[in-house]
Each structure stands twice: as C-alpha cells, then as structure tokens.
Subunit: 229 residues, 2 copies
C-alpha cells in the first residue's frame, strides 16, 4: 500500500469560510480601501448571523487588512504611499534572509515546485487573468519562504503578502491593464536554480524594484486624491 499522510481535514466552521470570502474580496479590491463593512448587511447577504461574521472580522483586523474603531465600525485599511514603501523595504530584507536560509535546503522537490509555480504564472498571464496572475506570482515568490524552514519567517511573510497582494490588485484595477513582469520571473527562477546565492539575493532586490516604482507612482496618485477630501 502506498504511504499516504493525510493532512488535517478542512475547517467546516462558518467563521472560516467567512474569513476566506472577506479576505478574497479585500485582496482582489472588490472591497475598496477605507470602505466600511456593515455587519447587518453582510451577515444578511451571507445568510449568517453576526456572531461568526464579527469573529471573522476580528481575525482580519489582526491580520492587518481591516481596521476597527469601537462603536464606529470596521473598515478596509487605507493604503498610503508610505505603507507601500515600508512593506517593500521590509520585504527586501526578508527576501535576502529567506534565500539565505532556503539555499542549502534546495532539493529536487524544490526545483520541481519552482517550475510548477512558474508555469502557473505564465498560464495566468496567457489567460489574461490578472487577479490570478498576481496570486501565482506571489506564490512563486513565496517558495523560498516555505523552504527556509523558519515558521516565524513564513508567517511574517504571509502577513506582508496580504498587503502586497492588495496593493497590486488596486494598482491593476486602477490602470486596468495587465501587470507586465514578463521576463523578470525567468531570470529569478534561473538564479534560484543556479549556484550563486549572492546573485540570487541581489536579483531579488532588483526584481522588486521594478514593480515597486510603478506601484509607488500609483500610490502617490492615491495620496493626492484622498487629500482632496
């Protein structure tokens, strides 16, 4: 008999499903920054009572993509240019660290997974599914964190990723054009397969900076718009 190790069974609480639904709505930009979440309205739409909805919202507040003001409401976080700068500069540091840790851990499974995720990005790009394109690109990026074998680092990166995904989605929705980043992933994947760790670390920085400039320009636009109100 083949050796099968079963993972934990799916969470079947309403709360978990609500969290997933809300997170997706926020990260894809369907819920816009600053927007208020009306508990009664949402609970009726989802055919759920307010209790599990509120618990789900509390989780997302701690996750950093919602913000809560007592007796006033819960809102999608606002996105400022500084937030994006901060997130990206931290991401650089974490990337270097993750590559350093993951480097000696690379094995055949790592390379296979690398190819698989790279393929997923290319497929999403061909299908012009921008939302999925962002998701797959971040998953490709996250591989080094999964292989770094540092649970705290992984958890930290996942929190950061939530925001980055939101920023990209907003950027994409605002401009309504696909994210470029065509050949960038090619060299990234190639370097992770190579033998020069420092080169991979260096490229991670550059790669980030490419998208960063574009995203930052968008954020500055946001700043001006919100300051008008």
């Amino acid at each position: 008999m083949a050796k099968l190790d079963f993972g934990p069974i799916a969470d079947t609480t309403r709360r978990a499903e609500i969290v997933a639904l809300l997170r997706r709505a926020i990260l894809t930009g369907q819920l816009e920054p600053g927007q208020k979440l009306n508990e009664l309205r949402i609970s009726e739409q989802m055919r759920v009572s307010r209790a599990p909805l509120r618990e789900a919202m509390r989780e997302l507040v701690q996750e950093g993509i919602l913000t809560s003001i007592p007796y006033a409401g819960t809102f999608v976080i606002d996105v400022t240019a500084k937030d994006i700068i901060d997130a990206y500069s931290l991401n650089k540091v974490l990337d270097e660290f993750a590559i350093e840790l993951a480097w000696p851990q690379r094995d055949q499974r790592f390379f296979d997974e690398l190819d698989r995720r790279h393929e997923a990005v290319k497929q999403a790009t061909r299908a012009v599914d921008t939302t999925r394109q962002i998701e797959t690109a971040l998953q490709l990026h996250g591989l080094i964190y999964e292989w770094a074998d540092n649970s705290v680092l992984l958890e930290t990166w996942q929190r950061l990723t939530s925001r980055l995904q939101m920023y990209f989605a907003l950027h994409q929705r605002a401009l309504n054009e696909p994210v470029p980043a065509e050949g960038v992933h090619e060299t990234y994947v190639a370097l992770l397969k190579g033998a020069d760790m420092r080169a991979a670390q260096h490229h991670a920085r550059e790669h980030i900076d490419v998208d960063f400039e574009e995203l930052l320009a968008y954020a500055r636009g946001l700043e001006k718009r919100t300051s008008k109100n």
Copy 2:
C-alpha cells in the same frame, strides 16, 4: 496656548479589556503553553458573556499566542526549541534593519527616551520584579523600532516580541531566578549613542546570543519533557 496633541481615548469595550487580560496572563506564564482555555469558565470568572471573550480569543489567535482547533478548543501555543531558534534568528535580521533605519533619525528625544527606558530596566532589576524586568528590557530594545519610522516593521517586531516575552517568562518561572543581563544593556545603550552604526548592529547580535543560549537550553528541556508524554 501650548500645542497639545491628544491621543485616542481608551477603548471602552469589554473585548479590548479581555484581550489585555488574557495577553498578560499568557505572556507572564500564568497560562501555561498547551493549556486549554475553557470559554464558559473564563467568561464566568470575568463576569462577561462568551461573545466578547470569543472575539478576544480570535484576536490572540491571529496574534500568534493562541491556537484554535474547531470544535475542540483554543489553546496557548506550545513552545518548541525550534520556535525559539526561529524567532531569534529573525529577530537578529530585523534588529540590523531597524538600527539601520533608526540611525539617521536619532535626536535628543531618542537619547532621552533611551536613558529613561534604561533606567526603568535598572529599577526593575533592583526591585527584583522579574516580570517587569522582562517587559522593560523589551521596551528598551523596541526603541529602535519605534524610531525606524516603518509601521510594518514595528508591527512585525511587536508580534515577535509577544513570543519572546512569553519565552523569557517561562524560562524565568522555570528556573525561578532573576534574569542576569546586567552589564549588557550598558554597552548596548552606549553604542546606540555612539557614532559607529556597524558596531551597534554587531553588538545587537552578540547581545541576543547571550540570552539566547540560556533560553535555548531551557527550551530543549521542555522538548524532552513533552516528548515523554
């Protein structure tokens, strides 16, 4: 009239108070790792209904110091040696980054605050209040993060700090002797006041390693004990 900027007034929801109470109980080790939190019992003790208690617990789960298994219960996280290693190695990286960012931001207020917090540590040490000693030491350490002017970094460090505080408290409770770290803070403070950034970064690593070895030994003891069960 003097320019006064008022901060937000205190949260007056039961939920917020419950979060504070539970967090403190966990971080001081009054609630032991792996221990189950019975909702009914705690809500009765606190004279609160289960709704705000559950919401508070959801926050602490996302904060990383509780873990929840659907229909089974919510538990204080287990502490493994690997967790401590992971947290500390990430802390090193973040420290270097924080010092780099905070370095040019140092001003008179920074130095004053540095002295103030250093004094608080010494006072707690003299009073042999170990819980407060841990708190103040971490607050001293956190100054560079507050001055780094990177909200995401600060938030990340605060999450990490929760765990570190818990680890130290457990360590202290287990050995029932005050944490040494007497002269270490002296040089740390002196270096942050100095002109050599690289030296400060380097010391931060060493300083960490001192406590680290001790803490790690304790964690390995934990490992053995739990593996016996």
